[in-house]
Subunit: 477 residues, 4 copies
């Protein structure tokens, strides 16, 4: 008698975004074939012994091997990045194919495929970054790419070399509306940041901590309000990425109350770091926590927790942006420190995202297990058209699964599998870590060693966002 | 070879509160034993042929056989009420054991068991109604009843013979906090209603339509704000029942933004009826739509739809309150009409609740199928401690299931199985109706006939609400 | 040649609620007859030498010789109270003729005239307190009294022996609407306070500081929202007295944004005291700062300052409630302290109200001189129908004037002229004090001595409130 | 015996921003010397016979003889503009010296003096328009000009040839903060307008009515929020001009509640016109009502009325922008209509501003007489440093006065004294008109004829804004 399944996980405590229950999970051809009690035997069996099993994480905001202006470069490529992801329980990553100004989006996508092909350990899809929305990009490339499975794109309201003006954003939103894609917005007011930065520099305030002074909350609040207004004008859903605290949350909450489809993402740095993490004047270590928007304070952390619980956020991402700390030092002959303006924005976190939220959120009693699944897997998969293939423990879904070990540990960068030389959470006490990660039914991380062959990860074409029914949109203007 | 399952539903389009997927469902001993592809054979098999299968509904707010002051009486008892529920896709009902003033809660519970024992066709749990929170009730009866599985109770802020004052509500909330129960509040300002009613009566405005004039939105808004303040003071979650429109929604939204655990229910009458349904001055038919709060207007319906989509509401109930229309007439010798003050408050809806929302919400493109499941089944089951036994398609859950027939039909009271002589939705065009309802694996409604034996319904003990982790509550005051 | 004026103030820096300018003020028959440059000579002349001259203050919320339940009694009667007022720059007081339950309003007014007749040093009007709104009171007494010049009345939402229920408040508001009067509301939720008080007492927390614990801000916020809802229902302006901080302010601000005529008063205690003024557990001195609502914290003080500047408040009163500290002690044989529940609510402040706001507000650079005049004189006179006879430096107005000495001084109770044995502001550094107060052209306080004959103060009949045009009110219900 | 006064107005009903009273007004050397009863005789006497006398209006937002890009030109220069102003009760105008890009501010001021010198009938001050904030402008010209009495400047957030980006606005605000000036902002999002305009044009929607479609309320709301954020960042008061309705009002109200000094102006067009005034598709007459922001609807008019009453607005201006209707036609050979994009933005209103508000506001029972004075005269004079010389009936103030004739009349352009060939209010029934206007004690309009010599109007240097005490500003960043 042949085995009914290639693999069975026995005695799971299965957690979906809506339910938690005891069952075996039967896997066939890399997919979940059955969930049930006393399933018939599998070719291979693993006894989970009552541990929690969640869908593998979908990290819908991370940066891997993205071309940067020299000398800055990203430490993680698809190989190290997806390895790190898998060891942290994430089985789908969505990095960005970023258009270069003066070049097309198609070229960016081709380049990014070249960078990822044969490199990844787990599956991946691409978001696009629209940096130069020419008519060709808008009318030809984007519609074609959307049809081909690149259904989400990010636009920046800040960063001199990336930001779009409001008119360009409207153009992108209009494409998104007409072709059923999802626009992600980085909402910070560029001019305000530049203006503050110059003033700080004029006073010699260039230590890492002044990064936070140059990007106060109102700078994010303003851009958030503006992003909402632009989406309202075009009458299209948007998703605001890496929301950091109260003032931005209030704008989104207001918009939702008006019936607008404004979605929102937040990240671990807004739960576990504060502006104090950027250090004092003399301290350069704070450069390790430079990200944008910057971390805020304890009161804002509470607002973010509340938003996670309350349904304001539907996506919890890492915004993994891997820059080596020694690289930052390396740029300074004679040990001179880089002014905060030149510190690459972003921190690593692709591996720590899920354990941090599981430890502090679920085991810390702040969110339910179902909410954890929704935020780390189901929500992002729905937002970007990967559900139910990804982010779901359901029949037919890819057998991307995490088995959680609940045990005390102290986080250190030595444990991690990225190519960055630090973690901003060094020394933090955690209560859980993935004991095993499966990708399409294959064990890629067994809690001790990384076991997957390079290049097994597959590219994923995304469908339409499925957050809520796309209502019939009235003709604008 | 013995069959692996008592019953298999083949080729289901399974919908949970988080996922939709194709699978067979295998049932054993009244519970869901397996969900999967190509499950081994069952003792009995039903080919669902790709139709949608959702969890059986949990109607967490309905009134059955509740003792009333004569001559008013409820038309539905547990027999007719649960029959009607089942034919509309609802497999769990939660009516109210209402304390009589001067009597205890225990007595109410005993009486209600006597009324339900051997009568019900589907399973049922009891909410309590606390009308007289004496020290004995608070300190002795309630804690004991909570331990025994009566973990939710409603209090009224209006109705002369039921309302509690703010101090009494605080006492009840405090018990709820200390013993982990859920308090439901009917939020309308009693004094305002009485004051307006007298003025209307003084002007001869007694037709049914003036019921809505006597209960304007601000009357509900005020009580909602007050309920929130009382819950905030005690630091305990509450659930506000039958929210009718914008002003109340705004209060709840504000509270949620403050981090308060304020949950909310709404009902079909706030989506499908308006104050105009109460008719004009000469018209007595409007009495069929008299409920409290009254239906509002189209703009408020949109606010309610938005709240359903947005996560503001976690429970969608019928507030089934079965009073016969001829009974209302019957009280008037010589055909004189009853003044609106004397029309029993409430409308029937236990059977129409789910088909209305499925037709207009899911098939009308207003909410997703997952959201439908959450609102009609999973959400109420979690709110009142019945999850995952009820309200869930997951392994080990009771096999309470609905198979949906998507077809056009015109609603008429003749189709319904309650003992009320009208439906407020008479003549409405629907796009779906339950083609089959299963309760614990037994077909109770096959789309044409009601097939279950009386008394098969079982009483359910409720556990703790599981809406979000119960945070460590600081000592009040 | 006869003198053109009885009295001339030369070289004034005149401040009205809208303008500040240099001029002489000519007074004839107790009224302002001319304001101008180089006025012709007066019978008597005072050279003000460029000092600021404002209208005499109108203290629209103070308690004098009000009958209390023994053994509590008020320290100030009309004699000491109006003397203290005058020395602090206040020339019109508006204490309360309080109805006793079971008795009528007319009787209260007659009694209060008996208490004031021949006693007062400056002019006075009466607010009424409606404690028992019987039909006779509502339909007969109140309309008659309004016609006779008692056009404002306070109702309490707290205090067991004074509070009205919502229905009674609606009745009073309706009278106010129909007859053009102004209702003042003390907005705190009575049941919440009682509930918290009992819990505190059960834990032995009876020191004065727990007075603030028993009346947290939400208790005021809730009642403020309710008061607004009641006024909205009746469609009539109201004035909420002694607003203490942010949460109540936000409710009022919301109401104003909706177009509702909600007026508001605040008091010095919400600018200059905090809950810490109530002391620590062992400290009984804190009893000197027990008032309701209690003082809050620094952040709330800022909200109140902002509301003063921004136009949210139109009345700044003392809420002078004169109880002797040794009286509080006297009630305790063997030195036992009174539990906070029994400490009479209220603090003295009739004399310090204006100097405190002038020092800290005007000279502290927080509010303009015009705003000072509006808040202390013109605003209250308009709110209660005494303008422009009172609260105004304009032609024909009563020559009630204050000449301000700007000089440093340290406040001590020894300086004050009330009959209370303490001031809560003992030791505070001030920058100004009235150098001279005139009432109807007579100097009653010359900066050193009180010079007026007892009984010179006259009773004032009030007209309609003149805050904004009374819009045509639609028929309610 | 010489007359004490050059002129006396007898029996005035004097209205200031705080008080209304009966008095004579004595004028000497063009200033108010005395206000009083039975003043001694004047050289000339006018018996006002109890009519209302208000301060002459200060129109703080009007455009006269401003250089425009050909072929557009302004119909009114200082001669016709100030004549029209005077006949409508306005005695001080504040038009704009607009910087040309590539040129300096000093040059603009000199040019504007050349245009106004010897032309004006009443007094005038200059606002500046900063169109090109170069370092020379910011660091040299602006500080010098502020010292010389040009203490307010407008910046545009829209109009291609005038708009500043956010960084430039921050620079201007910073100058305003450091030198104590007032920045006025035209708040509309330029990109949104351009984007919508192009779409409308692409569909052939070029009739005047589409002007309103291209500038929906959210476009104003967004820019208002952004303006507030920029002011908050710099920590400086600003004044938002021509606020048109609810969404912008809500932003300002929110800011005020946060303690921010955000001031606001509105105009007659937002009280008396609606988007329907722009006509239907075939109608070109609607071009007469094209202004920016466009008029909204009745509900928004109510919000504006409420803001006037409530203190949200402190300035009520005309935004007089005089373009001839036949000029608009003249540009089209063969009668072709100009697309809305090319219609000059702005409508005439310098003469109708005060009569409209007096008729509909004061006599229509919507605002008090004091509020009328504050909005039309005292408020703008304070906002721009002209108080108390202007906008005030007080001793020493310029004798700029209006005597109001309350009588029924029908407005027609034939009555008006501007050089524009239409009024948008043609045919409107009014209840009052200035019966006499005095400027510095001279009658310039006697209700029938304009009587002043050209060139008598004087240039006014402005001081610091005096809206509220300038609080000590913390160092930004």
């Amino acid at each position: 008698m042949t085995a009914a399944f290639d693999l069975i996980l026995r005695h799971c405590r299965v957690a979906t975004a809506s339910d938690v229950f005891e069952a075996d999970i039967g896997i066939r051809d890399g997919r979940i074939a059955s969930i049930g009690l006393a399933l018939p035997p599998g070719h291979r069996e693993i006894d989970v012994a009552g541990r929690v099993v969640t869908p593998g994480g979908v990290d819908a905001h991370c940066h891997l091997d993205q071309p940067m202006a020299p000398p800055v470069q990203m430490a993680d490529n698809f190989e190290t990045g997806t390895r790190s992801a898998a060891c942290g329980g994430t089985t789908t990553v969505m990095p960005f194919a970023a258009q270069q100004r003066g070049s097309g989006l198609r070229a960016a996508v081709q380049d990014y495929h070249a960078r990822s092909e044969g490199q990844a350990y787990v599956d991946y899809a691409f978001h696009l970054i629209v940096n130069d929305p020419t008519e060709a990009v808008l009318e030809t490339e984007l519609p074609a790419l959307i049809r081909e499975g690149y259904t989400s794109f990010k636009v920046y309201m800040t960063y001199e070399d990336q930001k779009l003006d409001d008119g360009q954003i409207l153009d992108v939103l209009d494409i998104s509306r007409r072709h059923g894609a999802m626009t992600m917005l980085h909402a910070e007011n560029s001019d305000c940041i530049e203006w503050l930065t110059r003033r700080l520099e004029a006073r010699g305030r260039t230590a890492p901590r002044y990064h936070a002074h140059a990007r106060p909350m109102l700078v994010e609040r303003e851009a958030t309000h503006r992003a909402i207004a632009l989406a309202e004008l075009v009458d299209v859903p948007i998703l605001i990425v890496h929301v950091s605290g109260r003032e931005a949350v209030e704008q989104i909450r207001w918009a939702r109350g008006q019936g607008l489809s404004i979605y929102a993402e937040t990240c671990p740095q807004y739960l576990f770091l504060t502006a104090e993490s950027l250090g004092m004047d003399e301290c350069y270590e704070g450069a390790k926590c430079v990200c944008s928007p910057p971390p805020r304070d304890k009161a804002n952390q509470e607002v973010i927790w509340n938003g996670l619980n309350d349904g304001l956020f539907n996506v919890f991402s890492s915004d993994h942006a891997p820059f080596r700390y020694d690289g930052m030092e390396g740029k300074h002959p004679e040990g001179e420190q880089v002014a905060f303006r030149h510190i690459p924005n972003g921190i690593p976190g692709i591996e720590t995202r899920m354990p941090l939220l599981y430890s502090e959120g679920v085991l810390g009693g702040r969110i339910s297990l179902e909410k954890f699944v929704e935020l780390t897997a189901t929500g992002p998969a729905k937002a970007y058209g990967l559900h139910p293939k990804k982010g779901s423990i359901s029949i037919g879904a890819d057998a991307d699964l995490v088995i959680w070990d609940e045990r005390e540990l102290t986080l250190s960068n030595a444990m991690l599998h990225h190519a960055v030389d630090y973690t901003p959470y060094e020394g933090m006490k955690l209560k859980a870590w993935p004991g095993m990660t499966l990708s399409r039914g294959e064990v890629v991380w067994d809690g001790k060693a990384f076991t997957a062959p390079k290049g097994r990860g597959r590219f994923l074409r995304c469908g339409r966002p499925s957050l809520r029914p796309m209502r019939h949109l009235a003709e604008a203007a």
